[in-house]
Structure formats: structure tokens, C-alpha cells
């Protein structure tokens, strides 16, 4: 009897507590709902759609399951193979020089002075302008004969080439534009990384008799390793997701020499109306992006454990 008398309010209180919790849970979900609606509509659902579309074929009357056919079709398509290989060359060709330049800029401009601030701003300027605007400027720079590059190369007695019209050179020109556009962005991360190095490590190195080059090699560069890893991830994502300059400068040509995977997706969807191939190529791009994220996550996990 007395036991029940004691338990009853307890139970009631617990129930009230649970109800309160459920009510609060509901509120949390309500706060997440707006984001979740948009994420579902424009991130999760489209992923399901491209996966589904990539194994189906659509014509005017019906939709039919075709298995790997679309994937086989893009693999057999020279344009896609070009785009894929170009993307690899484009990645290596932009990321390595951008990184080296960005690191060099950051090392040289680490100290705060009026001049250094000005130089940093100039190097950062290309990051701000739309890729399309950069491409509009470079359209003239790359112009054969009277363009900026050829004009000044001729003064130096060097014969220019058809920068974006020659299939052997076009991708290199696009790479040059991308390096110009992104190096200043990556420089910012290296500047931040340099600020994070403890002065004590330099003092210790000086006491140990390390010269300036040795300090760069044994103190500065090892300390910047995480920054390098981070910048590579950012740069890889840029290489997969930014193709605006291709549209203005070359449209993927000549002879697909500057086609990239995302631009191929655009072409298939907008010019060929081939949703199957566009979807299959999208899946390839998504797999690449997920692989980049997975590698960078496992790396940071390992570093966290070490």
C-alpha cells in the first residue's frame, strides 16, 4: 500500500518527463525539418535518381531497365574517355604547380608589411572574379596572332601557338588559366598554416645550428603537412566541379582535347538529351568525389589517432 503510494507519483513524474522529452524531441526535428526537406529534394533524391537513371533507358514511350548499358556506352564513347583522361591530366597539371606556387607565395609573403599585403591582395584577386569573367579575359590573351600572349612572345622572338585551338596545347592553356585563378586561394591556407607554427621550434632549430634551408626543410615543411593535405582535397574538388571556363573558351574542343567529366555531363544532358549517359557520367563524378572525401577522412582519422 505504502509502496504503491510512493511509486505512483514517481511513475507519473517519469511519464511527464518522458512526455516532455518527446515534445522536445519533436521540436528538434521541427527545427531540422526545413533543412531536411531541401536536402532531400536537392541532394538525396537526385542521387537516387541518377543511380536509377544510369541503369535505365528512356525513349518517348517507355522506360526500360538496361543494366550496365549506359556505363558501357560512356566507356565506349571516345568523348567520355577523353574527358576522364583529361580530368586526370588537368588534376595533376593544376594541383602540383598551384600548390608549389601557393607555398612559395606564402613563404615569401609571410611577414606582414605594406608591400606584402599588397602583393597578397593582387595574388588573391583572381580568386574573387567569376571563372566566366576570367575566361572572357583569357579569350583575348590566348587569341592567336594578335592576342596578348602571342604579341609579347613575338617581341621576344618566340613564335606563338594556337593556344586554345591546337588540340596538343589547349588543355595546357586551360591548366594555365586554372593555376592563375586558384594559386592565390591556396596561398591563404599556407599563410594560415605558417602562423600556426610555434616560434620555439625555430628557436630550437637555430640553437641546434640549423641553417635557414635546414629550418625550412626540417621545421616549416613538416609542420605544413596537414595544410598540404587539406589544400589537395579542396583542389581536387575544384578540379571535378568547376568547368565554367571550358564553356567560354573551348566548349570541350578541339577534338575533345579539353573536355572534362562534368562538362561531358552537361553536353550529354543539354546537347544530346541522353539522360542515361549523362546519369552514368554523373555517377562516375560522384564516385570520384566520394573517394576524395573517404581518403581525406581516413587520413584525418589516422592523424587523430597518432
Amino acid at each position: 500500500m505504502s509502496e504503491i503510494a510512493i511509486r505512483e507519483p514517481l511513475v507519473a513524474r517519469a511519464a511527464a518527463h518522458r512526455a516532455a522529452w518527446r515534445w522536445r524531441d519533436l521540436r528538434a526535428y521541427a527545427l531540422l525539418a526545413p533543412s531536411l526537406v531541401f536536402l532531400t529534394a536537392f541532394t538525396y533524391w537526385p542521387v537516387v535518381q541518377v543511380l536509377w537513371n544510369s541503369v535505365h533507358e528512356q525513349d518517348k514511350r517507355a522506360v526500360s531497365f538496361v543494366g550496365w548499358k549506359n556505363y558501357a556506352a560512356i566507356l565506349a564513347d571516345p568523348a567520355f574517355r577523353h574527358a576522364f583522361v583529361n580530368n586526370l591530366i588537368y588534376a595533376a597539371g593544376t594541383i602540383i604547380p598551384s600548390l608549389v606556387l601557393a607555398l612559395g607565395f606564402a613563404l615569401a609573403l609571410d611577414r606582414s608589411s605594406r608591400l606584402n599585403t599588397l602583393l597578397r591582395s593582387v595574388l588573391f584577386l583572381p580568386v574573387l572574379v567569376p571563372l566566366v569573367a576570367a575566361a572572357s579575359i583569357f579569350l583575348f590573351i590566348f587569341l592567336p596572332g594578335v592576342g596578348l600572349l602571342d604579341h609579347y612572345l613575338a617581341r621576344l622572338g618566340i613564335a606563338g601557338v594556337n593556344w586554345i585551338g591546337d588540340p596538343d596545347v589547349a588543355l595546357a592553356s586551360i591548366i594555365g588559366l586554372t593555376v592563375w585563378k586558384n594559386a592565390g586561394y591556396y596561398m591563404l591556407f599556407f599563410l594560415a598554416g605558417l602562423q600556426g607554427i610555434a616560434l620555439e621550434s625555430y628557436e630550437a632549430a637555430i640553437l641546434d645550428g640549423a641553417n635557414a634551408w635546414q629550418r625550412l626543410w626540417y621545421v616549416t615543411l613538416p609542420a605544413l603537412k596537414p595544410t598540404v593535405a587539406f589544400v589537395i582535397v579542396v583542389a581536387l574538388i575544384n578540379v571535378v566541379t568547376q568547368v565554367d571556363h571550358i564553356f567560354v573558351l573551348t566548349k570541350g574542343g578541339p577534338a575533345d582535347s579539353t573536355n572534362l567529366i562534368l562538362f561531358y555531363v552537361y553536353q550529354q544532358a543539354v546537347e544530346q538529351y541522353d539522360i542515361g549517359k549523362a546519369s552514368a557520367a554523373t555517377v562516375v563524378a560522384l564516385v570520384i568525389l566520394l573517394a576524395i572525401s573517404a581518403v581525406s577522412l581516413s587520413r584525418s582519422d589516422r592523424e587523430a589517432q597518432a
Binding site: R24, L32, G104, A108, R111, I206, V265, L290
Partner: protein, 283 residues
């Protein structure tokens, strides 16, 4: 700290690595912009070879600007860009603040799983999903509308992540004090969390506006009628048109018109720009 840093850093290899070399490279980096400026004010030359000169050896004229201005409706494009960026940012601020508050300050079943689900958006970059998103936008009746350009960006995992961090660093005592005073949860967000998270908000706003201002491929696909073009699409179409006419000075003027607001913003808020690009990392 900085003074100490400066004295020690003088001995580092970095300055010796060649301030001179970097100055030369920086000059090289500035050349495209210099050419744009010089060419934009150059009198018409009909694609002559002098077009490439970086020396302003002429009487400056606004003829190129006049022609660019007349052949493309930059005011309208600019207004569209402003509407797109403003609309995206306004909705993003709402959705991400609400979600960030839930993740930062509430306990509920499935919180971790949902948080990871959010984070997947940072890998599945929206632009890659342009084919299915175009179909969704069309099905929603938003094809060829500014709203259609904005919709895929209304939820932002990145912003949520940034705001969650900012909210978590705010002492709970402030919230408790406000609760004692009888504040409701939305008052907490509006009067305590958002004002204190202002630096993160500004950083996010700068990165969001710049990236959508510069976006091209997605609006190119969604927008059909010229009146709804944002600046980037307008500029690309204008450039492709003027390229045929070899009107390089006009292209330079048009490009100048498009990037001037950004550069003006950058020069005014330089430190903020640089800091937000640095703290936010991914665009």
C-alpha cells in the same frame, strides 16, 4: 608576438627565397587585369594588333563601355544576381540557424546519424547533381525562374556545420539566464545565439554570396529567357557574341562591369574577405 615573429622570421629562408621573384610573379598575375583595364578604355581598333599592348598610349574613351552597356542589359543581370544571392542567403541563414541550434543545444534520438546525413551534402556537391536537379526544378514549375536557380542551395550542410560550432562555443549560462527571465526558444536563437555568432555568420555570408555570384553552369541550365540571366550567364553570352565581332575592347569593358562590384567589395572589406575564405575553407 608579431614583433617577435618578425625579428626571428628575418632569419628564415622565406624572405631570401626571393622577394624579387615573387614581385615578378605577382606582376605576371596582375597582367590579365591590367590588360582588361587598358583595353576597356582603348578607342576602337577593329581587332588591330595594337589591342594587345599593355601601355595606355591613347586618349581614354568610354565608347567600349557604352557599346557593352547597349548590347547587354547588365543592370538587369546584376539585379538578377543580387536577387539570387540575397534569396539564397536569406533562406540559408534561416534553415542553417534552426538546424544548427538543434544540433548544438538539443538532445534527441538519431542526432549523430542525422548530423552525418547532413554532412554528406558537403561531398555530394550540388553542381554535380545538375541533371536530376534540373528535372526536379522543372517538375516544380521553376524552370526559367530565379527561384529555380536558388532552390538547390536553400539547405546548407556547410553553414549548419559552421553555425553549430559557433553556437557550441557560446556559454550555456547565457541561455539559462535568459530562460529564467522567461525567454522562449526562438527568442534564445534570435537574441542570444545569432548576435554572438556574428563573426561566423559574416564569414558564411561572404563565402555564400561570392560563390553564388560567380556561379555559371547551373543558372545557364535553369535560365532560358535573357531577362532572367544572372551576370555570369549574361557575360558569357555577351562575350560569345562579341567574340565573333572581334570586339575585344567591348569584351574587356563588359568583364570590367561584371567584376567591378566584387573588387570594390573586396577592397572595402579586405580583411573580412580573406578571413572568411580562410576560416571556411570549402566554398
Amino acid at each position: 608576438m608579431t614583433a617577435r615573429r618578425a625579428t626571428i622570421a628575418t632569419g628564415e629562408i622565406s624572405p631570401q627565397l626571393g622577394t624579387a621573384l615573387v614581385i615578378v610573379l605577382t606582376a605576371l598575375w596582375a597582367i590579365p587585369f591590367c590588360w582588361m583595364l587598358v583595353a576597356a578604355f582603348r578607342p576602337e581598333m577593329f581587332g588591330g594588333s595594337g589591342m594587345a599592348s599593355l601601355v595606355p598610349d591613347y586618349l581614354p574613351t568610354l565608347a567600349n563601355f557604352r557599346e557593352a552597356w547597349e548590347s547587354a542589359d547588365f543592370i538587369r543581370y546584376g539585379l538578377n544576381s543580387v536577387l539570387i544571392c540575397g534569396g539564397i542567403l536569406a533562406v540559408q541563414l534561416t534553415t542553417m540557424s534552426l538546424a544548427a541550434f538543434a544540433f548544438a543545444r538539443m538532445r534527441f534520438p538519431g542526432r549523430t546519424a542525422l548530423f552525418y546525413l547532413f554532412l554528406t551534402q558537403m561531398m555530394l556537391v550540388p553542381i554535380v547533381l545538375l541533371v536530376p536537379n534540373l528535372r526536379t526544378v522543372a517538375q516544380l514549375g521553376l524552370y526559367d525562374t530565379l527561384l529555380g536557380v536558388m532552390a538547390p542551395y536553400f539547405a546548407t550542410a556547410f553553414g549548419t556545420f559552421l553555425m553549430r560550432q559557433a553556437f557550441q562555443s557560446i556559454p550555456r549560462e547565457l541561455e539559462d539566464a535568459a530562460l529564467v527571465d522567461g525567454a522562449r526558444w526562438w527568442q534564445l536563437i534570435l537574441h542570444i545565439y545569432l548576435p554572438l555568432a556574428k563573426p561566423a555568420l559574416i564569414a558564411f555570408a561572404i563565402v555564400s554570396v561570392t560563390s553564388h555570384w560567380n556561379e555559371f553552369l547551373w543558372p545557364l541550365m535553369v535560365i532560358n529567357s535573357p531577362d532572367n540571366r544572372p551576370l555570369t550567364v549574361g557575360l558569357a553570352m555577351f562575350t560569345l557574341g562579341a567574340e565573333g565581332a572581334q570586339a575585344w575592347g567591348v569584351i574587356a569593358a563588359g568583364t570590367f562591369i561584371v567584376i567591378a562590384p566584387l573588387i570594390l567589395g573586396f577592397v572595402t572589406f579586405q580583411r573580412r574577405f580573406i578571413n572568411s575564405f580562410m576560416t571556411t575553407g570549402l566554398k
